[in-house]
């Protein structure tokens, strides 16, 4: 019985660990956002960009944010890339873990993006 409990708890903790990896680490994301200077353009709260040509990020879908950063990494070299003078350089410096963490953190912030018809 004890063995069974041990196995079950091990499996559960593994699943949780896998989930938190896939979901990104919010705290590590906050550090990465500070490290890479995102706030310089997107604003301290990531919801008030310094120029209207830069997007509000706070509260945006996590998987979309990650996708956008990956697309900037790709640049024009492959399909499903994005070309942007600033973001291509910024994104190149990120590891895939950085991207997952930052996306988790940015998604967790309160913002005023909405989905409406």
């Amino acid at each position: 019985m004890k063995k069974l409990l041990l196995i079950v708890s091990a499996v559960i903790s593994l699943i949780l660990a896998a989930n938190s990896w896939a979901g990104g680490d919010i705290k590590a994301g906050k550090l990465a956002v500070e490290k890479f200077g995102c706030v310089a353009c997107h604003g301290a709260d990531l919801n008030t960009s310094i120029d209207p040509s830069y997007p509000k990020l706070a509260g945006q879908h996590q998987d979309y944010l990650a996708h956008a950063l990956v697309a900037y990494q790709r640049g024009s070299e492959v399909r499903n890339g994005r070309v942007n003078a600033i973001m291509n350089g910024q994104a190149k410096a990120l590891s895939s873990k950085d991207i997952q963490n930052m996306a988790a953190y940015i998604h967790s912030l309160p913002g005023n993006l909405v989905v409406q018809k």
């Binding site: 209207p52 040509s53 997007p55 509000k56 956008a68 697309a71 994005r82 909405v114 989905v115 018809k117």
Partner: protein, 161 residues
């Protein structure tokens, strides 16, 4: 050793009773060995070079004029959220459904657009139109939009709360 691109209109093989004409590009190399080549005649080269320069200058000036006109036109386009009412039909099928996911070629939730900065939305659509951003669905949609459509749609989504 000088090399220049020579382009000739050539008639290729007959297909179904029709001649196919095409522009054939060949690099012509100048060297003592092929100096007998008619194109290596210096008079011919100079004459063609001046024509080339004239054509290039004309094309360049046309580009400058059109880009200036384009910038002026873009500056004049003012987005009208009300005018977008009958233009959002093709947006709301994805962007109006909470949690809707793009499924090809990668799976992720389509971005929230409501409340986004209008200028950013405009730039994004122009980028899809130009090819700086690619996504199979958005490429097609953006190409169907005029500058005015883009400005109207951006204004429409920016004012949502």
């Amino acid at each position: 050793m000088a090399r220049f691109l020579r382009q000739d209109w050539v008639k290729s093989n007959e297909q179904g009773g029709r001649f196919i004409f095409g522009l054939q590009s060949t690099f012509v190399q100048f060297s003592p060995r092929n100096s007998h080549h008619p194109y290596s005649n210096s008079f011919f080269i100079m004459k063609n070079l001046s024509v080339l320069v004239a054509v290039a200058a004309f094309v360049l000036s046309a580009f400058v004029v059109t880009s200036v006109v384009n910038v002026a036109a873009a500056a004049d386009v003012v987005g009208n959220a009300k005018a977008a009412d009958n233009k959002v039909a093709m947006c709301i099928g994805c962007h109006g459904i909470p949690g809707y996911k793009a499924t090809f070629p990668e799976v992720y939730q389509v971005p929230k657009l409501g409340g986004q900065n209008a200028k950013y939305l405009e730039n994004a659509l122009h980028a899809y139109k130009k090819g700086d951003r690619t996504h199979p669905t958005m490429d097609g949609i953006a190409k169907s939009l005029s500058d005015q459509d883009i400005a109207d749609l951006a204004a429409y989504y920016a004012q949502q709360k």
